[in-house]
């Protein structure tokens, strides 16, 4: 139980939880490598529903098999679900207080800042790896980032289509790339 970082209360929800999981499993304990974590995160983008649940399942499976999956999910959800219900119930009682409204509005931009920080930390290893493979791979990676963001900005419901298209683009680009080393 104490080994699970998922239990740690995170003030800005998912992104902070993601940072805590990454810090604990990748940086502090080394149970998951940076590349594995980035790969898991990329993989769960295509899974329906909550990314962190899928990520937790992958990390749990890697570190503890089926039991690890159960314990990881328990660690993630056992505290957070009841706390969310209690927070909502409590909020219903104070929702008409003026400063409460202001505080609620202030949390959103703070979360965006944390999100940008974490996403850049996750993107850098991927972009570095692409650059190491050559200018073509780097160009494809950067273009994919920009085009994906643009499409989702215009059409938020197109996330799954964008991810599938990016996967196909990556596969097609890999065929064009010269074979270097045995990293398969």
């Amino acid at each position: 139980m104490p080994d699970s970082p998922d239990e740690t209360p995170s003030a800005t929800a998912g992104l902070a939880t993601l940072a805590l999981i990454r810090g604990e499993f990748v940086e502090r304990r080394g149970w998951v490598t940076e590349d594995e974590f980035a790969r898991y995160w990329a993989l769960v983008q295509a899974a329906p529903g909550i990314n962190l649940l899928a990520l937790t399942i992958l990390i749990g499976r890697k570190t503890g098999g089926a039991v690890g999956v159960g314990l990881a999910l328990l660690g993630l959800l056992a505290p957070s679900v009841p706390i969310t219900i209690l927070l909502t119930a409590g909020y219903e009682h104070i929702r008409d207080v003026r400063w409460v409204h202001s505080a609620v509005r202030g949390i959103v931009p703070a979360t965006v800042g944390v999100g940008i920080c974490i996403m850049s930390q996750m993107a850098l290893p991927v972009l570095r790896a692409a650059r190491a493979r050559g200018a073509f791979a780097f160009g494809i990676a950067v273009t994919t980032v920009i085009v994906s963001a643009g499409i989702v900005l215009v059409q938020p419901r197109a996330v799954v289509v964008v991810l599938l298209a990016a996967g196909l683009t990556g596969a097609a680009a890999a065929i064009r790339e010269p074979v270097a080393g045995g990293d398969a």
Partner: protein
């Protein structure tokens, strides 16, 4: 909106989206159109989701509570 329709709205939105708030556009379109939620309730539920620990996707718990109670 019946309870079955309400349940299906959430199920469909989560099934065809990714990420903690990927279901937001679909839920917003369906629940607002059916007068099952207000923009204010969406904003409050999202803010509660940001404040509470764990996945951001748990914001739907707040939305469910605010729109239909326990």
């Amino acid at each position: 909106m019946t309870s079955a329709e309400y349940f299906w709205t959430f199920l469909e939105a989560s099934l065809f989206s990714t990420g903690g708030t990927g279901n937001l556009p679909s839920l917003h379109a369906d629940l607002i159109a059916n007068h099952a939620a207000t923009n204010q309730q969406f904003a409050e539920a999202l803010a509660i989701g940001q404040m509470s620990p764990g996945p951001t996707g748990l914001w739907v718990i707040g939305l469910g509570y605010l729109t239909r109670g326990l």
